[in-house]
């Protein structure tokens, strides 16, 4: 059951794939490699030579923006997988087992959700060595409560169904029920959750990077935004644009895709 994406959804998917290709090429070293050294005079306005201009240290902003896509996509993708895996497994366990397992896990989720996520996020990122893996870990470990609730509700609904009772009566174990009964039911929900978690993780990464708590060697969009703040007040707009336009575009693409995927669900 593939959901119909429509024109907007297909465009969004194409945009995401384009971002992916751009980041992959940069990671393989095909282009945008001179992001760290000075490529020209300082604060050069956009034009031939430096298509997006240069920043206060004379570094090429196009190369830096492309390298930023690597960070955003790596953190967004990694954290989204972590969120869905963790929230999904715990939610399935709570819903399928029920009883005390359910109560304990639901309580744990409430407790995790009650701590303002930013405290843990910034805390983990600044106290540990900040970097891409720390950002992925911190986001995945704190943001799974939404997926947990959705999967748990679905698993509880499954427990009330006749075919799950039949499977239980035939002695099916929890893994069998998870694999053959819950997972097929959850597939559309998980797809939407994956894309939504990606959106969330990319935004959180930008925030972390703004406070210097994300990737250290690679430039990321949040850090570019933080660096461009003082120039913006002087009317130099291109460093800010080079960071904010791709960030907003990436999130917009993923958001539209998530909306299209979640179209059939109630409340979506």
């Amino acid at each position: 059951m593939t959901p119909r994406l429509g024109l907007a959804g297909r465009l969004a998917l194409a945009g995401l794939l384009a971002f992916g290709a751009l980041a992959l090429g940069a990671a393989l070293g095909l282009y945008a490699q001179d992001y760290a050294g000075a490529a020209g005079p300082e604060l050069l306005s956009p034009g031939p030579g430096a298509w997006l201009g240069t920043d206060a240290l004379g570094r090429d902003l196009l190369a830096r923006a492309i390298q930023g896509a690597r960070v955003s996509l790596a953190v967004g993708g990694g954290a989204a997988l972590g969120i869905v895996a963790l929230g999904g497994l715990l939610g399935a366990l709570a819903g399928l087992r029920g009883g005390w397992t359910d109560r304990l896990l639901a309580g744990l989720t409430d407790a995790v959700a009650a701590v303002p996520p930013l405290v843990i996020l910034l805390g983990a990122a600044l106290l540990l060595a900040p970097g891409i893996d720390t950002a992925i870990l911190a986001i995945a470990l704190t943001q799974w409560s939404g997926v947990f609730r959705g999967v748990r509700a679905e698993a509880l609904r499954l427990r009330a169904s006749d075919y799950d009772r039949a499977a239980l009566a035939m002695g099916a174990g929890i893994w069998h029920r998870l694999r053959w009964h819950l997972l097929p039911r959850l597939r559309p929900v998980l797809a939407t959750a994956l894309v939504l978690s990606f959106v969330h993780a990319v935004k959180v990464e930008a925030l972390l990077a703004y406070f210097g708590a994300s990737a250290q060697t690679l430039p990321s969009w949040g850090r570019l935004l933080a660096e461009s703040g003082s120039e913006l007040a002087r009317g130099i707009w291109w460093p800010t644009a080079a960071a904010s336009v791709p960030l907003a575009l990436l999130v917009l693409c993923a958001q539209v895709l998530a909306d299209r995927l979640g179209e059939g669900e109630p409340g979506g």
Binding site: G107, A114, P116, L118, V119, I120, A124, S244, V256, G268
Partner: protein, 311 residues
């Protein structure tokens, strides 16, 4: 009454769990003695500092002690001052802009969501597009660009500053722009949430019944809003953690001495007691607020009481 007691018990248990979690996480991530003396300190000095701080006692004892003191709201000291006092002091500036911003965003989102759900058509599409655009713009971009355009360029507001006891008119001026930006950050998701909520409520059979009896649209809307009160309160309660923390970006860029700024400063100085205190204090405020919202919903919405008793 039993429901009230039970809800309070759940809130207390959640707070205990939160403080235990915070303790475990902080203890696993960072060693206070190393942070205070630096990484290159001699092992003997580190051991002495650990003994001074009581870090050499058994893990379980320290955990229980930590949970106990958190439950009695003794969050330790930081800089020769109780953490609670610093939190209280930081809370006022945060609430000064977050509360008006929150109210503004909620009113706009409720009104917009209701109008979009009822009219559909171009108004709906326009508001939905606006919400998606706002959601796609990272809060960092919103705040940076908002401050630049509205304060630097158009000069509608002062760029930054926080009145430390100046005249009341001046205080208001400084709060306006942060509150507006705060509202913009929150507006996108809320607009979509309330639109979906009102579409569901409008499809309910009793709305059809009211219309069939010939009630005016305004009266129907009043019935509808009362019915939607529970879910709206639930949404407000889900928003509480953000309300007390404020926006770290807003406070950073506008130089507001609020909770977010306190947290950032505590992290940069690696002030563990203050970080723990902020985490637990904010969690306590959130848990308390959520319990209050739940009780309000029970009080206002008979359906939720029936659902509870039926379980």
């Amino acid at each position: 009454m039993r429901a009230l007691l039970r809800r309070l018990l759940v809130a207390a248990a959640t707070l205990a769990l939160v403080s235990a979690l915070v303790f475990v996480v902080v203890d696993a991530l960072a060693d206070r003695a190393t942070l205070e003396l630096g990484r290159g300190a001699a092992p003997e000095a580190l051991a002495a500092r650990r003994a001074l701080l009581g870090l050499d006692r058994p893990y379980l004892i320290r955990l229980l002690e930590h949970v106990g003191s958190a439950m009695s709201f003794q969050l330790g000291e930081s800089g020769h001052e109780p953490v609670t006092a610093r939190l209280w002091r930081a809370l006022a500036p945060t609430l000064a802009y977050a509360l008006p911003g929150f109210a503004l965003a909620s009113v706009l989102a409720l009104g917009g969501g209701f109008a979009a759900a009822r009219r559909r058509g171009w108004l709906d599409r326009g508001l939905l597009g606006l919400a998606t655009a706002l959601m796609s713009t990272s809060s960092v971009i919103l705040v940076v660009l908002g401050q630049h355009l509205l304060a630097h360029r158009l000069r509608l507001f002062p760029v930054l500053g926080w009145p430390l006891g100046g005249d009341p008119r001046g205080a208001l001026v400084f709060v306006l722009l942060p509150a507006l930006l705060w509202a913009l950050i929150q507006l996108g998701p809320d607009l979509r949430h309330y639109r979906a909520l009102f579409i569901r409520e409008l499809a309910a059979p009793h709305v059809e019944g009211l219309r069939a009896r010939g009630l005016s649209e305004a009266r129907v809307a009043r019935h509808l809003l009362r019915g939607a009160l529970g879910p709206v309160l639930a949404r407000v309660s889900a928003r509480l953690p953000q309300l007390v923390l404020g926006s770290v970006v807003v406070e950073h860029l506008f130089n507001i001495p609020g909770v977010g700024a306190l947290l950032l400063a505590a992290l940069q100085r690696a002030d563990l007691p203050l970080v723990q205190g902020v985490a637990i204090g904010l969690a306590a405020a959130t848990i308390g607020g959520q319990a209050l919202c739940d009780l309000l919903i029970w009080r206002l919405d008979p359906r939720s009481r029936a659902a509870r008793e039926g379980r």
